[in-house]
Protein backbone atom coordinates (compact mmCIF):
# COMPACT_ATOMS: atom_id res chain seq x y z
CA UNK A 1 0.00 0.00 0.00
CA UNK A 2 1.56 3.24 -1.07
CA UNK A 3 0.58 6.71 -2.04
CA UNK A 4 2.72 8.25 -4.77
CA UNK A 5 2.74 12.03 -4.65
CA UNK A 6 3.21 13.90 -7.92
CA UNK A 7 3.73 17.60 -8.53
CA UNK A 8 1.96 18.73 -11.70
CA UNK A 9 3.55 22.07 -12.60
CA UNK A 10 1.56 24.06 -15.15
CA UNK A 11 3.76 26.73 -16.66
CA UNK A 12 2.11 27.33 -20.02
CA UNK A 13 -0.94 29.52 -20.52
CA UNK A 14 -4.21 27.88 -21.37
CA UNK A 15 -6.04 27.66 -24.71
CA UNK A 16 -3.38 28.25 -27.38
CA UNK A 17 -1.78 24.97 -26.49
CA UNK A 18 -3.38 21.83 -25.15
CA UNK A 19 -0.73 20.84 -22.66
CA UNK A 20 -1.95 22.94 -19.75
CA UNK A 21 -5.51 21.60 -20.10
CA UNK A 22 -4.18 18.06 -20.24
CA UNK A 23 -2.47 18.70 -16.92
CA UNK A 24 -5.88 19.36 -15.41
CA UNK A 25 -7.64 16.39 -16.97
CA UNK A 26 -4.79 14.02 -16.10
CA UNK A 27 -4.84 15.27 -12.52
CA UNK A 28 -8.58 14.65 -12.36
CA UNK A 29 -8.06 11.03 -13.39
CA UNK A 30 -6.52 10.32 -9.99
CA UNK A 31 -10.08 9.54 -8.89
CA UNK A 32 -10.24 6.37 -10.97
CA UNK A 33 -6.65 5.13 -10.99
CA UNK A 34 -7.41 2.74 -8.17
CA UNK A 35 -9.12 0.38 -10.63
CA UNK A 36 -5.68 -0.35 -12.07
CA UNK A 37 -3.78 -0.50 -8.77
CA UNK A 38 -3.57 -2.91 -5.87
CA UNK A 39 -5.81 -2.29 -2.89
CA UNK A 40 -4.67 0.71 -0.90
CA UNK A 41 -2.38 2.07 -3.60
CA UNK A 42 -3.05 5.64 -4.69
CA UNK A 43 -1.57 8.44 -6.76
CA UNK A 44 -2.04 11.99 -5.48
CA UNK A 45 -1.26 14.89 -7.79
CA UNK A 46 -0.81 18.43 -6.53
CA UNK A 47 -1.63 20.96 -9.20
CA UNK A 48 0.63 24.02 -9.22
CA UNK A 49 0.29 27.00 -11.56
CA UNK A 50 3.45 29.03 -12.12
CA UNK A 51 4.78 31.52 -14.65
CA UNK A 52 2.42 32.04 -17.59
CA UNK A 53 0.44 29.07 -16.31
CA UNK A 54 -1.39 31.47 -13.98
CA UNK A 55 -2.84 33.36 -16.94
CA UNK A 56 -5.68 31.06 -17.95
CA UNK A 57 -7.38 30.19 -14.71
CA UNK A 58 -9.34 33.34 -13.89
CA UNK A 59 -13.08 33.47 -13.24
CA UNK A 60 -15.63 34.27 -15.91
CA UNK A 61 -14.31 32.10 -18.74
CA UNK A 62 -16.64 30.98 -21.47
CA UNK A 63 -14.79 28.97 -24.08
CA UNK A 64 -17.92 27.00 -24.91
CA UNK A 65 -19.65 29.85 -26.72
CA UNK A 66 -16.91 30.79 -29.19
CA UNK A 67 -15.03 27.48 -29.50
CA UNK A 68 -17.31 24.74 -28.20
CA UNK A 69 -14.86 23.52 -25.59
CA UNK A 70 -14.85 23.35 -21.81
CA UNK A 71 -13.10 26.21 -20.08
CA UNK A 72 -10.03 25.80 -17.92
CA UNK A 73 -12.00 27.46 -15.17
CA UNK A 74 -14.42 24.53 -15.19
CA UNK A 75 -11.57 22.04 -15.00
CA UNK A 76 -10.01 23.92 -12.08
CA UNK A 77 -13.35 23.89 -10.28
CA UNK A 78 -13.68 20.16 -10.92
CA UNK A 79 -10.22 19.65 -9.45
CA UNK A 80 -11.33 21.45 -6.30
CA UNK A 81 -14.53 19.44 -6.23
CA UNK A 82 -12.60 16.15 -6.17
CA UNK A 83 -10.38 17.43 -3.36
CA UNK A 84 -7.19 17.99 -5.30
CA UNK A 85 -4.77 20.49 -3.83
CA UNK A 86 -4.45 23.43 -6.22
CA UNK A 87 -1.69 26.00 -5.77
CA UNK A 88 -1.11 29.25 -7.61
CA UNK A 89 2.17 31.16 -7.41
CA UNK A 90 1.68 34.42 -5.52
CA UNK A 91 4.63 36.19 -7.17
CA UNK A 92 3.37 35.34 -10.64
CA UNK A 93 -0.13 36.61 -9.90
CA UNK A 94 1.46 39.88 -8.76
CA UNK A 95 3.74 39.97 -11.79
CA UNK A 96 0.78 39.79 -14.16
CA UNK A 97 -1.47 42.00 -12.05
CA UNK A 98 -4.07 39.33 -11.36
CA UNK A 99 -5.87 39.89 -8.04
CA UNK A 100 -6.43 36.83 -5.91
CA UNK A 101 -10.18 37.39 -5.91
CA UNK A 102 -10.11 36.85 -9.67
CA UNK A 103 -9.36 33.16 -9.08
CA UNK A 104 -12.28 30.75 -9.19
CA UNK A 105 -13.69 28.69 -6.37
CA UNK A 106 -16.12 25.83 -6.56
CA UNK A 107 -18.41 26.88 -3.74
CA UNK A 108 -21.38 26.60 -6.12
CA UNK A 109 -20.50 22.92 -6.48
CA UNK A 110 -20.17 22.61 -2.72
CA UNK A 111 -16.47 21.86 -2.96
CA UNK A 112 -14.59 22.02 0.31
CA UNK A 113 -11.21 22.85 -1.21
CA UNK A 114 -10.19 26.28 -2.40
CA UNK A 115 -7.18 27.48 -4.37
CA UNK A 116 -4.06 28.08 -2.32
CA UNK A 117 -2.10 31.17 -3.32
CA UNK A 118 1.45 30.53 -2.15
CA UNK A 119 4.97 31.87 -2.70
CA UNK A 120 7.10 30.06 -5.26
CA UNK A 121 9.19 28.68 -2.39
CA UNK A 122 6.13 26.72 -1.26
CA UNK A 123 5.74 25.24 -4.73
CA UNK A 124 9.40 24.23 -4.69
CA UNK A 125 8.71 22.46 -1.42
CA UNK A 126 5.84 20.56 -3.04
CA UNK A 127 8.23 19.55 -5.83
CA UNK A 128 10.74 18.36 -3.25
CA UNK A 129 8.20 16.28 -1.39
CA UNK A 130 6.77 14.70 -4.55
CA UNK A 131 8.20 11.46 -5.87
CA UNK A 132 7.76 12.71 -9.41
CA UNK A 133 7.65 16.18 -10.96
CA UNK A 134 5.76 16.69 -14.20
CA UNK A 135 5.92 20.00 -16.08
CA UNK A 136 3.07 20.84 -18.43
Amino acid sequence: MADVKCAFIVQRPQYKGETSRLALTHALSYQTVEVLLDDGDTVTPSLCFVGEGVLGISKGQNAMAPYGINSSELHVKNCLLVDLDVYVCKEDLEKYGIPEDQLPDAADMEAEKTINVVPFAEIEKIMEEAKHVLFF
Binding site: G17, E18, T19, S29, Y30, L36, H132
Partner: protein
Protein backbone atom coordinates in the same frame (compact mmCIF):
# COMPACT_ATOMS: atom_id res chain seq x y z
CA UNK B 1 17.06 -2.35 -13.37
CA UNK B 2 14.44 0.34 -13.02
CA UNK B 3 11.10 1.38 -14.38
CA UNK B 4 10.86 4.43 -16.62
CA UNK B 5 7.42 5.80 -17.40
CA UNK B 6 7.20 8.44 -20.10
CA UNK B 7 4.30 10.69 -20.90
CA UNK B 8 4.63 11.76 -24.52
CA UNK B 9 2.38 14.60 -25.69
CA UNK B 10 4.03 16.28 -28.74
CA UNK B 11 2.90 15.52 -32.26
CA UNK B 12 4.74 12.98 -34.36
CA UNK B 13 5.35 15.44 -37.15
CA UNK B 14 6.46 18.95 -36.28
CA UNK B 15 8.28 18.31 -33.03
CA UNK B 16 11.65 16.72 -32.39
CA UNK B 17 10.46 15.88 -28.91
CA UNK B 18 8.60 12.82 -30.19
CA UNK B 19 11.77 11.46 -31.81
CA UNK B 20 13.66 12.17 -28.62
CA UNK B 21 11.15 10.17 -26.60
CA UNK B 22 11.37 7.18 -28.92
CA UNK B 23 15.17 7.11 -28.88
CA UNK B 24 15.32 7.44 -25.11
CA UNK B 25 12.77 4.66 -24.69
CA UNK B 26 14.80 2.38 -26.95
CA UNK B 27 18.04 3.15 -25.12
CA UNK B 28 16.41 2.42 -21.76
CA UNK B 29 14.83 -0.81 -22.99
CA UNK B 30 18.15 -1.91 -24.52
CA UNK B 31 19.73 -1.52 -21.09
CA UNK B 32 17.12 -3.81 -19.57
CA UNK B 33 14.92 -1.21 -17.93
CA UNK B 34 11.16 -1.56 -17.95
CA UNK B 35 9.68 1.22 -20.09
CA UNK B 36 6.08 2.42 -20.26
CA UNK B 37 4.91 5.04 -22.74
CA UNK B 38 1.70 7.01 -22.49
CA UNK B 39 0.55 8.99 -25.52
CA UNK B 40 -1.71 11.97 -25.07
CA UNK B 41 -2.53 15.10 -27.07
CA UNK B 42 -1.16 15.24 -30.59
CA UNK B 43 1.17 12.28 -29.98
CA UNK B 44 -1.83 9.97 -30.18
CA UNK B 45 -2.05 10.28 -33.96
CA UNK B 46 1.21 8.35 -34.13
CA UNK B 47 -0.52 5.09 -33.23
CA UNK B 48 -2.13 4.92 -36.68
CA UNK B 49 -0.69 2.10 -38.75
CA UNK B 50 0.71 2.26 -42.28
CA UNK B 51 2.74 5.43 -41.88
CA UNK B 52 4.86 6.28 -44.87
CA UNK B 53 8.32 7.40 -43.88
CA UNK B 54 9.14 10.41 -46.01
CA UNK B 55 12.57 11.71 -45.16
CA UNK B 56 11.41 15.26 -44.41
CA UNK B 57 9.10 13.95 -41.68
CA UNK B 58 9.56 11.93 -38.56
CA UNK B 59 8.06 8.49 -38.40
CA UNK B 60 6.66 6.77 -35.37
CA UNK B 61 5.63 3.36 -36.61
CA UNK B 62 9.05 1.75 -36.99
CA UNK B 63 10.03 2.91 -33.51
CA UNK B 64 6.78 1.78 -31.96
CA UNK B 65 6.86 -1.68 -33.52
CA UNK B 66 10.46 -2.14 -32.38
CA UNK B 67 9.66 -0.97 -28.86
CA UNK B 68 6.63 -3.23 -28.61
CA UNK B 69 8.80 -6.17 -29.69
CA UNK B 70 11.19 -5.29 -26.87
CA UNK B 71 8.33 -5.54 -24.37
CA UNK B 72 7.73 -1.82 -23.91
CA UNK B 73 4.13 -1.14 -22.92
CA UNK B 74 2.60 1.60 -25.04
CA UNK B 75 -0.83 3.04 -24.45
CA UNK B 76 -2.71 5.83 -26.19
CA UNK B 77 -5.34 8.07 -24.67
CA UNK B 78 -8.53 6.84 -26.24
CA UNK B 79 -10.31 10.19 -26.00
CA UNK B 80 -7.39 12.11 -27.53
CA UNK B 81 -7.05 9.54 -30.31
CA UNK B 82 -10.66 9.27 -31.42
CA UNK B 83 -11.05 13.05 -31.21
CA UNK B 84 -8.43 13.18 -33.96
CA UNK B 85 -10.34 10.73 -36.12
CA UNK B 86 -8.12 7.71 -35.52
CA UNK B 87 -10.07 4.54 -34.75
CA UNK B 88 -8.91 1.53 -32.79
CA UNK B 89 -9.21 -0.67 -35.88
CA UNK B 90 -6.55 1.50 -37.58
CA UNK B 91 -4.08 1.24 -34.73
CA UNK B 92 -0.66 -0.39 -34.78
CA UNK B 93 -1.13 -3.84 -33.24
CA UNK B 94 -0.44 -4.33 -29.54
CA UNK B 95 -0.73 -0.66 -28.67
CA UNK B 96 -3.12 -0.36 -25.75
CA UNK B 97 -6.02 2.08 -25.65
CA UNK B 98 -7.15 3.36 -22.30
CA UNK B 99 -8.03 6.42 -20.23
CA UNK B 100 -5.71 8.83 -18.44
CA UNK B 101 -5.63 6.77 -15.29
CA UNK B 102 -3.47 4.24 -17.18
CA UNK B 103 -0.70 6.85 -17.10
CA UNK B 104 -1.14 7.47 -13.40
CA UNK B 105 -1.04 3.74 -12.70
CA UNK B 106 2.28 3.48 -14.54
CA UNK B 107 3.52 6.51 -12.63
CA UNK B 108 2.70 4.65 -9.44
CA UNK B 109 5.07 1.81 -10.26
CA UNK B 110 7.80 3.95 -11.83
CA UNK B 111 11.25 4.73 -10.50
CA UNK B 112 11.50 7.66 -12.88
CA UNK B 113 8.84 9.60 -14.76
CA UNK B 114 9.60 11.82 -17.72
CA UNK B 115 6.65 13.94 -18.77
CA UNK B 116 7.35 15.39 -22.21
CA UNK B 117 4.74 18.07 -22.72
CA UNK B 118 3.41 19.01 -26.09
CA UNK B 119 2.31 22.11 -27.83
Amino acid sequence: MGVLTMGVFPGLVGSGSYDFAMKLAKAAADKGHVVNIWFSGNATVSVKAHQKHLKDYSTGEKYLVELLEKGVEICTCEACTISRGVQKTESIAKIQWNAMHWYLSKIHCADRVLQIGGE
